[in-house]
């Protein structure tokens, strides 16, 4: 997993609430047995006509936002299916950070496994960032994980909260499984005790 430290880039505004993982990556693209290559199908049904041509007014098809690295989105982003294909598709497109007032639980966790930073901010802050994102490609937003701030193109900074363990893993690009395997002795001990207390499991 790639580290996430700071990012300065174009932010695309997607004010729609309840953007679900079926929208982010429709099911016909879940048939892959790989993690890569999903970026071209990110938001597929919102982004392309059924003949495969681009829908011109979709935000990521507009010239200013084709290289967006940040999304500023409406409430409850990533709701629905647990598919990790959603963060895989975002990452493959080039999105490394999503800002919203709230995220669905599974999507939120999936982001951290893939080097994507989901930032939760209050409505007023998201509104301000949405306005900034609407300015287009010349307005670059900066996300700094170490200082836990998102800064607009005109220097207005918003601080956000994040779980310290998740922050640590993202800043250092750490592999969860490796960390857990360091605790193998604890798992062995738990299994030994559980074999006595709950032998039917």
């Amino acid at each position: 997993m790639d580290k996430f430290t700071t990012l300065t880039g174009i932010a695309a505004p997607m004010p729609l609430v309840n953007i679900d993982t079926d929208m982010i990556i429709p099911k016909q693209f879940l048939k892959t047995i790989k993690r890569s290559g999903l970026g071209k199908n990110l938001f597929d049904e919102m982004r392309y006509n059924s003949d495969g041509s681009e829908i011109a007014d979709f935000i990521l098809n507009q010239p200013a936002y084709r290289d967006a690295e940040i999304l500023v989105a409406g409430d409850n982003f990533g709701c629905g299916s647990s598919r990790e294909h959603a963060p895989w598709a975002l990452l493959d497109f080039g999105i490394r950070c999503v800002v919203s007032t709230s995220f669905a639980d599974i999507f939120y966790n999936n982001c951290f496994k893939n080097g994507i930073l989901p930032v939760v901010l209050p409505q007023e802050a998201v509104d301000a960032l949405m306005e900034d994102a609407r300015k287009g490609a010349n307005a670059r937003m900066t996300v700094d994980l170490e200082s836990q701030t998102v800064t607009t193109s005109d220097g207005q900074a918003f601080g956000f909260d994040i779980d310290p363990f998740k922050k640590h893993c993202l800043l250092n690009g750490l592999d969860d499984i490796g960390l857990t395997l360091e605790k193998s002795a604890s798992i062995d001990a738990y299994e030994k005790t559980a074999a006595q207390s709950r032998p039917w499991v």
């Binding site: 609430v17 047995i33 409850n76 647990s82 990790e84 709230s102 599974i106 857990t180 499991v201």
Partner: protein, 468 residues
């Protein structure tokens, strides 16, 4: 933690392997369910790192999302990518020695129906699966939730998950349900009341007389959609109905172990005075048969209602509601019962169990599907299908003009050939009405099996109470 505990607190505490100073826990996982769509990259990860499956005996795999449900299934899967995914699961199950129900096994079905049916899901367990509807298993008083593929790999390798505890939320449904109102109406009504983010950050415990009165099948329907309400998991305290359902199932404990298990299971309830961070109470008698009108599961209205106007909402929901109305092709003010439908889908992990098929068949007996409509029943497992045939339900569906399919996820998410065409409108017993969910441009109205059966007969959304 001392003092009174919630059911969630008790199950959580029983599974903590290690706790860091900041409250981050390593949680032990008792059952790991696996299907073909969200697991290939996880097994690939194990191979690349030379890791093994830590507890193959606690890992259960079944293909469900991609499998054809037509009767000629033995011909194989036509779509190459779908076939490769199912073949990958075959190989991974074999290579890593995990429990497996292949496509041609009579016990094959939707993973969340097979788990309870085979007795893998037991009270007080932690259950995970790379599938958001893992919440279903909460009906047994098991802490069950969906995970992403990276976490699937983590559980395969370590039999644990790194977790922070959620907050406790209580959803109480008091009193009795009125005739024609089902578990599906409860769960949709709760989401209608709390919104799709209402449960974010919480584990919900469903309780109250109306919940206690539900069968295990009904409780699974309620917990199944906890995820649509944004919750990490839904729980219902186990009781005599739970124990009776579990007893004698292939992987349920037997003999002395059964007695030991039962003794512990009977301690799994929320203590008097335990703290809930959020409480929602709904009177059972206030719940009507409901349908969804929009493209979010929170877009719920009683069937007697009318299509709302976008301006009747506030904030970001105004734009979302307008988008839903446009997508669904609906005009504000029209009666829900005037909405004509093209297709009926009965099935899914929400409503593909025997009780669901009984409820639909009770409405359909001696009636016909309206001319020109497509209607299908997809049982949740091969064993549900067999039981429905034995009870004569299958014949009722066939006589009414329904297609009687083999088990799988089918049109709930349309990864297999069972899909809606653009503009096609479906009365569905599944769990999501998202744009394109059942096929690009397809329009989904969620409802109970009885309501879907009623719609099949009339050709439009229908108040099932008029047919009872």
């Amino acid at each position: 933690m001392s003092g009174p505990k919630t059911l969630y607190d008790k199950i959580w505490d029983a599974h903590v392997v290690h706790e860091d100073a900041d409250g981050t826990c390593l949680l032990y996982i008792d059952r790991h369910l696996v299907h073909e769509v969200t697991s290939p990259q996880a097994f690939e990860g194990l191979r690349m790192t030379g890791r093994n499956v830590r507890a193959p005996e606690k890992t259960i795999a079944v293909p469900d999302h991609n499998v054809p449900t037509t009767l000629d299934r033995e011909k194989g899967i036509e779509n190459e990518e779908s076939r490769i995914q199912v073949e990958a699961l075959d190989k991974n199950a074999r290579d890593f020695g995990i429990n497996y129900y292949p496509v041609n096994d009579v016990r094959q079905g939707i993973v969340h129906i097979v788990g309870p049916e085979q007795g893998w899901t037991l009270p007080g367990m932690t259950v995970v699966c790379g599938d958001s509807h893992t919440a279903t298993h909460g009906a047994f008083g098991a802490l069950a939730h969906g995970i992403g593929t990276s976490e699937v790999e983590h559980v395969l390798a370590t039999q644990t998950l790194i977790q922070k505890k959620s907050k406790n939320m209580k959803v109480e449904i008091t009193g009795k349900l009125r005739p024609g109102v089902t578990a599906k109406d409860i769960t949709l009504s709760v989401i209608g009341a709390t919104g799709t983010a209402g449960g974010t950050g919480y584990v919900i415990e469903y309780c109250g007389e109306a919940i206690r009165d539900l069968s295990m099948e009904g409780r699974m329907t309620v917990c199944n959609m906890a995820i649509e309400g944004g919750a990490r998991a839904g729980l219902i305290a186990p009781d005599e109905k739970t124990f009776e359902y579990v007893m004698g199932r292939p992987h349920a404990p037997k003999g002395a172990q059964w007695e030991a298990a039962l003794a512990w299971w009977k301690t799994l309830f929320t203590d008097e005075g335990a703290h809930f961070d959020k409480v929602v109470t709904i009177r059972g008698e206030d719940i009507a048969p409901v349908v969804t009108w929009g493209t979010s599961p929170e877009d719920v209205l009683p069937i007697t209602g009318t299509v709302p106007a976008a301006e009747s909402f506030t904030g970001g929901k105004v734009g979302a509601a307008q988008r839903s109305l446009d997508y669904m092709g609906l005009t504000p003010g029209m009666k829900l019962t005037d909405i004509k439908i093209d297709t009926v889908f009965i099935g899914s992990c929400t409503n593909g169990r025997i009780e669901d098929l009984r409820a639909a068949a009770a409405i359909l007996k001696g009636k016909k599907v309206k001319d020109g409509m497509r209607a299908m029943v997809v049982p949740g497992s091969g064993l549900v299908r067999a039981q429905a045939e034995e009870e004569g339900l299958a014949q009722i569906f066939i006589d009414a003009g329904f297609e009687w399919r083999l088990a799988g996820c089918s049109m709930c998410l349309a990864m297999n050939p069972d899909q809606l065409s653009p503009g096609e409108r479906c009365a569905a017993t599944s769990n999501r009405n998202f744009e394109g969910r059942q096929g690009r441009g397809g329009r989904t109205h969620l409802m109970s099996p009885a309501m879907a059966a009623a719609a099949a007969v009339t050709g439009h959304l229908t108040d099932v109470r008029e047919m009872m």
